[in-house]
Amino acid sequence: MKKYLPVMLLAGTVIIIQLLTLITGKGFLLTQLTMSTWYVIAALGLCMVMGYAGQISLGQAGFFAIGGYTTAVLSTIDFSARTGTSVFSFFDSLGLLLTRQTIYGDTVIYLSPWAALIAAILIAGLTAWGLGVPVLKLRGHYLGMATMGFGIIVNRIVVGTKIFGEADGISNVPPFKMFPGFEISGKVGFRVGNYYFAWLVVIIALILLINLINSRAGRALKALHGSEDAADAMGVNTARCKTAVFIIGAVLAAVAGFFMTHYNGGIGPSESSVIKSVRYVSIVAVGGMANIWGTLIMGMLLNFLSLRGVFGHFDDAVFGIILVLMMMFMPDGFIRKEVFYSIKTLFRGKK
């Protein structure tokens, strides 16, 4: 049970922060906190790929966008014009068609986001597999270049394709009514619920990742990071390990993109930009690379500040600068044991 202690502490902190916003009457902050949380899930996925397995990926935003755009496209198709077609009756027989009223009072029949969620996971996972099998044979910065190419391709496809809304993105994405009385949407009434739901997803992801890291597969990932040749010689199937962790990272990003799109009620091409991928990389770097807790803390902090507009016009520049400074002065990251020790000795004095 000891390894779950930090998770329980985290849950406590989450509740305290919500109560603080309630007491101080600043409940609006929960919106940015919720959005940061979704970004953090994508960053956690990258932390596994980059920090633990040591595979540089500059295409994480591409997977986030795949998740977001999958649901944005699927759940904005109006099926009321398609009544009687075989596609309509197929989804209808599965109970996956829902109706809603638009703000103009028209009735729209749309595909259940549950179906879109499954589609988002499948498409992201299959893309990661298809991309990972050839690309993960590359090492070091060649791998970085290849994954960045993937990110650019996704970005250009999104910007240049009509069904993806081109440069405007897709708006009017319906809320995701998960169960009666709760929906993923930006409505004020669901703000607290969404905040807790986002953290619930983070905690589930954390528990799964902690178990993975401490398992036999996690050791294989660390070995892979240390020396791929030696890992091979120990009988680790390195190709399969790398592809598997790449798929896990991609699926986490896609899930985050999916919920973020329903929360915001839309998605734009900037979510798929390479700059966003660089953001994820700098968050993982500041967090200490192979450190899911560092990624979590720094990801929350930086995304929250960025979403609050603290960095102003220099938003993307700040993340770039952070990455450069980290690489120069603290290549091992900011959140790690040694830093805490030096802070401790600062207060206690040297022994």
């Binding site: 660390k222 020396s227 010689a233």
Partner: protein
Amino acid sequence: MLKIKNLEAGYDKLKVLKGISLHVNSGEIVTILGANGAGKSTLLNTIASLVKPTEGEVRFKGRNVQTARPDYMVTNGCALVPEGRQLFPAMTVRENLILGAYTLYGRRDKKIANEYLSEIYSMFPVLDARKSQLAGTLSGGEQQMVAIGRALMSGPDLLLMDEPSMGLAPIIVKTIFKAVLTLRARGKTILIVEQNARAVLEIADRGYVMETGMLVIEGDAGELLNNNDVKRAYLGRDYKEFTD
């Protein structure tokens, strides 16, 4: 245990092994001597299936394994101590050793792995003392012990050792080779690739000499020690003394 026939292998267009044939019997210590670039490491890597042969046959325990995957070889009892040790420097000694047991899993295997672990600790007590130290911070000799221990963790029958004496002080080399003898006494078969001919011929049963991808001399260890060509090439005696 191991039988190789006309093995050819290389990297892309470069052919390194040009028709190697050798055999290792069960319970033997066999050594392959050779200078830098002779292809010794490539040969071991090919046996461990890390390098795919282009031609020829590798039979391990009577089975053709030239197209097997590396994890098949480890699972079936052939482990490699790679050249230059290749430890995982950011992991502790214990983690490095446990990683060697990667191909063992399940509850029963865990017990076996723990037995192997305590066997290795009793063979190299210094590793027990340093089990929670990062592997990258150990001395060269200790790192070699970890590398050997890590290979033993999969419970191999055949141990492939690539230059275990590389960069080590003579007294440490002695400790390592003593451990090799202990391993043979415990029923392991060992194939060692070495440049330190004198030290390895003292413990080996048989040996081969490799030159530019081919085996040129074969014989018992004692024979090789007294062979003039070997002496001249690898034992560092005066050239003239043996050619006269």
